[in-house]
Amino acid sequence: MTVLYFAHARRISTVAQEEITVTAPLSSAEFWDLIIRRHAGMAALRTSSRLARGNEFLPADAVIAPSDEIVIIPPVSGG
């Protein structure tokens, strides 16, 4: 699984992108648990951020495959 970090998420993770080996599909909740184990500061973004895959936001009940590229989208502030 590839994880992309933008904006505040990247500031916390200190990486723009990382590979994480997972052996089974994950729920969103399991994904966040995993990310927070690696980067404790990401807990602060868990409720406010959304996840995306293939340029689309993930629905809450999405299943994340071990081969997916998942993007963490902190609250946006463009325009």
């Binding site: 933008f6 904006a7 505040h8 500031r11 340029n55 993007v71 946006v76 502030s77």
Partner: protein, 127 residues
């Protein structure tokens, strides 16, 4: 509806559009960097975009909004990187037959942009 989306670090210079004879209304919005952010003086904002998704989401939003507010074309230019006070972060131009759908689409797009499009103010430079 024609949709053109440009997201890059370049200074925003809206082009002079050729006006189709069916167009009666051009509504435009320019978002400018103000000299303060959270009540503190700044000299610039720094914007970051997740470019492919930002473009995909904008395009879908605009297509959705055009169903309710039929317009002829929309061009969105969003700048990223360091943008100094008084410079444009975004320019949106909507061409339509009549003004009502142009205004409605423009205002609704700006609201949705600020909720759903992966672009961020990631930093401020002090004054």
């Amino acid at each position: 509806m024609q949709i053109e989306i440009i997201i890059n670090d370049a200074v925003i210079i809206p082009p002079t559009d050729t006006i189709d004879s069916g167009i009666g209304a051009l509504a435009e919005f320019t978002g400018l960097v103000r000299g303060e952010e959270n009540d503190r003086p700044i000299s610039a904002l720094v914007y970051e975009a997740y470019q492919p998704m930002a473009e995909t989401v904008m395009r879908r939003l605009l297509t959705e909004l055009a169903a309710a507010h039929p317009c002829h074309s929309v061009r969105v230019q969003h700048r990223t990187g360091i943008i100094h006070v008084g410079e444009a972060a975004i320019h949106v131009a909507v061409h339509a037959k009549h003004r009502a759908p142009a205004f409605a689409l423009l205002a609704a797009f700006m609201d949705r942009l600020k909720q759903d499009v992966p672009i961020w103010k990631i930093d401020t430079l002090p004054a």
